[in-house]
Amino acid sequence: MSLLAPPFLYLLAAVLIPVLGSRSRALLLLLVPVFGLISLLSYGYGNHLVIPMLGFELTFVRLDKLSQIFGIIFSIAAFLAAIYAWHVDDKIQQMATLVYAGSAIGGVLAGDLITLFLYWEATAVASVFLIWARRTPASYATGMRYLIIQVLSGVLLLAGLLLHYNDTGSIAFDHLGLVSLGTWLIFIGFGIKCAFPLMHNWLQDSYPAATVTGTVVLSAFTTKMAVYALARGYAGTEILIYIGAIMTLFPIFFAEIENDLRRVLAYSLNNQLGFMVVGVGVGTEMALNGTAAHAFCHILYKALLFMSVGAVLYRTGTSKASELGGLYKTMPVTMVCCLVGAASISAFPLFSGFVSKSLILDASVSNGYYIVWFALVVASAGVLSHSGIKIPYFTFFAHDSGKRPAEAPMHMRIAMIITAVLCVFIGVFPGALYALLPFEVDYKPYTVSHVLSQMQLLCFALLAFVFLMRNGLHPPEERGVNLDSDWVYRKLAPGLMPAIVNAIASTVTSAQSSAKDAVVSFTRRVAGISRPGGILSVNWGVNSMVLIVTVMMLIVLLFNFS
């Protein structure tokens, strides 16, 4: 029976993948989330599956209302992604999807830090295959960067949990708070996966590099698992409020000028995470409700947006705004679904974003964080600008690109329509969602003043868009790469400061050539000595080996006789 616990079910199915035929694999992918959800709901609240491992008692299923809602939405997301990926006939992607979704669910069900860590790393390792599955050298490089950052997050979590264990003697995953070095490390580990500012680039770097279906899968799990972890361990940590506020604001600017639509969505994902992080930081029951609800809605509409952009990519071969336009003529269903997603993320009344985001806004304002609240309002207008307008407008309308792709395949349309219906359903009947939230909800989203203020905000923002377009002030879509903080490790560090050295050296002309050479050659030298034929990996001759022995002997004698 324990094998049928949700995370194990997924892993078990993943093992079956290699031996199944093409269609039965796709079917398996579709069925596993269904059974996973049934299995999840069949557990009562409390700890189950406590297994001794590594000398600890590990709790594999800890079900309460907080983990339940994340478990449910993860199952739904896995199901929708499976429909959307019905056409995929790639064992590696299918296996990675199952392991990834399973370990994400395992992560939110984990009752202790070690189990959490196990799944934390499993998501990292599994998900990178969705990027590598694109099978280009560039996606390999991107995947490698992604993997290293994800594993780094896991490593920090591991270090933190060991310290925490040393301090407290407990591995329980409950409220941690920023009280010691250990908890700080865990916090940073969570922060990396949650794409905190300056740790966010992996997200924008990797999501556009994944496969069409891979991005849809990726968008659902990693970051939301981190949000859950933060909500579990660091609810009410004030620093999160400000981190969240910054997260909602700065990606807007990048999203606005980014050309690759999947990267626009990645930035917008970052911005939406900001709302959730603010909710965690405020930490009241209402705010945590808001975080959970927003995560729920967000997974749906972000998946919907990624699906529609993915469908366009699937049919046209590009997701660059500058190459697209006028597609509504031949992909109307995709367009309508995209509009629903856009309306949801922009929080138009009757769409899902409206009923969840307002919980967080209200929580922040009622706790007196006015500046943060104002930042969130501004960010809401910003969300409209890039996800609400830019994605559908530049893809399906704007100038006609002359492309007449066929409508998305049937299974993609089905996936998108179901997701769109869910978005609208939650928007219209928020009670259904509110019933799932971790705490008692006493909130009415549809009040006159609330609807009015939101409509004002959005309509006037639309008006501003019209105004800007009319006056030619809106930045045109251009091909290109926008720098972000990953520039530091992708350009600055590898090119390693020849520029800086140059600047210094030009003032100190005498040192110029030597200093520059030294720094430029440093990176090369590290590689140089390690390459085959380099001093470290050359075939050492007997003479030099014996010389080393002698030197070592001298050193040893020196120490032993001192």
Binding site: P52, V526, P532, G534, L536
Partner: protein
């Protein structure tokens, strides 16, 4: 009755198999003899481990001459583990060797190959089981000489130079060890390990003991391929027949590490080795620089075997670093990693063996899209590669987890942090190979080798046996951890 004779049988069986192979001379028959002997040895080792864990230390006097006078075999949990590990790895690699040896070794010399293999096994088991310092040297020489021969069986001409280099370095190392033992004998008048351990505290201040200590340090570092003295290893592993590489990678350096443990913990005692003698001033930096630098070197390698060889040296760095903590948990971590690394590295070299068997070389750059042609082999490589990185639920994770935990417990943060850094390197070098094998499509300009298919069953089965065990150990880490911590306690407790 036979239960009393287990320690002797452990050595006698493989030693008997060697001359039998020479007499029989027919390739398949030799293999069968060696395999039967090996299976018996595994069972024997298992029984020994069981016996030790239930009844405590076993002391077996050879020829009936009691301990300080005669040679004795001394079995506690620590060397029972080593016996089981060595004989088991030898057993699976021997099964694996059946097919691959036919391809690489000249037909008329198979019987010599298997005889040398059995002698090597005898030597390694002997080192592990004996309780006599000089006997260690004797068995060390038996295993080394057999190893030189096994290495020279490589089909590549460079195998000869590699073997010769190893011969020189191995002899230097063995002489250092011999000199060390000689000095110890001069200072204490004892060769029996238990006896030595009792007498050394009185002779501690003697110059001879100090010199002996230094010689043993260097000698064992060479034999175990600890960082600056690892030069012989990469070549030897690259050019030897791949079955031999798999065998040696899992056993030879591990046994040397065991001897290191024996001498520095049981005989000299941790207080002397790591207190008075500042052994960690020498070993710890060497270990740390080793695992950092050689993980880096592994990234840049173009030959798969060489990459794994450098990764081996890096892993030895972890083990030595764990020893240097000189605490119960540190030793446990080191011993667990000896077991775990032995298993996964052997599995890795086996998968490389499968690749070489079918592709004919192990040049990383041209293994593109191998997943299509040899899915089982590549899967095995990926699983054990993940173990090498230390991904959770693999054995590597257990090792790294306990190593980092131990270093934090000791208060050496940096060691733990650096281990993590070098794990990131491991991700790169394993990931690079996996990416090429799984995702990179074949280049169009090279003609597709026709008829490429999965490696034969006789190679796949032993590989998957190892992988199954590694997964089992990875998922229920408590099995190995509890045994290893018993062993560590035995080592720290000194001889009873």
């Amino acid at each position: 009755m036979i239960a009393d004779q287990l320690p002797a049988l452990q050595i006698v069986i493989p030693m008997l198999a060697a001359p039998l192979c020479v007499l029989v001379k027919r390739s398949n028959a030799c293999w069968a003899i060696a395999l039967v002997a090996n299976v018996l040895v595994v069972i024997n080792a298992f029984a020994l481990l069981h016996q030790v864990r239930t009844d405590g230390v076993i002391r077996y006097a050879l020829g009936g001459w009691a301990a300080p006078t005669g040679i004795e075999y001394y079995v506690d949990t620590m060397n029972a583990i080593m016996l089981l590990l060595v004989s088991f790895i030898s057993c699976v690699t021997l099964v694996f060797a059946y097919t691959s040896v036919k391809k690489t070794v000249v037909t008329g010399k198979h019987y010599l190959f298997y005889a040398a293999w059995m002698l090597c096994l005898t030597g390694l088991l002997g080192i592990s089981i004996t309780g006599d310092a000089f006997n260690v040297f004797v068995f060390l020489e038996i295993s080394s000489l057999a190893t030189y021969m096994l290495l020279a069986f490589g089909s590549d001409r460079r195998a000869l130079t590699a073997s010769f280099r190893y011969l020189i370095m191995g002899s230097v190392g063995a002489s250092f060890i011999l000199i060390g033992i000689g000095f110890l004998y001069a200072a204490t008048g004892a060769l029996n390990m238990v006896d030595l351990a009792q007498r050394i505290p009185d002779a501690e201040s003697q110059r001879a003991v100090l010199v002996a200590f230094s010689f043993l340090t260097i000698g064992l570092m060479i034999k175990a391929a600890v960082f600056p003295l690892h030069g012989w290893l990469a070549n030897a592993y690259q050019h030897a027949p791949i079955a031999v590489t798999a065998f040696l990678a899992g056993t030879a350096t591990k046994v040397s590490l065991y001897v290191l443990l024996r001498f520095f913990f049981s005989i000299f005692g941790p207080n002397y080795s790591f207190g008075a003698m500042l052994l960690n001033v020498v070993l710890l930096p060497a270990a740390i620089v080793g695992f950092l630098l050689l993980s880096l070197v592994a990234i840049f390698q173009t030959d798969l075997r060489r990459m794994l060889a450098y990764s081996s040296v890096a892993q030895i760095g972890y083990i030595v670093a764990a020893f240097c903590l000189a605490t119960q948990s540190g030793l446990t971590a080191g011993i667990v990693h000896i077991i775990n690394h032995g298993i996964i590295k052997t599995a890795l070299f086996m998968s490389v063996g499968c690749i070489i068997y079918r592709v004919g070389h192990a040049h990383i750059g041209s293994l593109d899209n191998l997943m299509k042609k040899m899915p089982l082999t590549v899967t095995a490589f990926i699983i054990s590669g993940l173990g090498l990185i230390g991904v959770p639920l693999t054995v590597g994770f257990i090792s790294k987890f306990s190593l980092i935990g131990a270093s934090l417990e000791r208060g050496w943060w940096m060691v733990g942090a650096l281990v993590l850094v070098s794990s990131l390197f491991a991700i790169v070098y394993v990931g690079r190979v996996v990416e090429i094998m799984v995702f990179r499509s074949s280049r169009t300009d090279t003609p597709e080798p026709t008829g490429m298919r999965e490696a034969p069953m006789s190679m796949l089965v032993p590989m998957y046996v190892l992988i199954g065990i590694s997964l089992w150990f990875g998922i229920s880490g408590s099995t190995t951890l509890s045994v290893a911590s018993e062993a560590a306690a035995a080592l720290l407790g000194g001889y009873q």
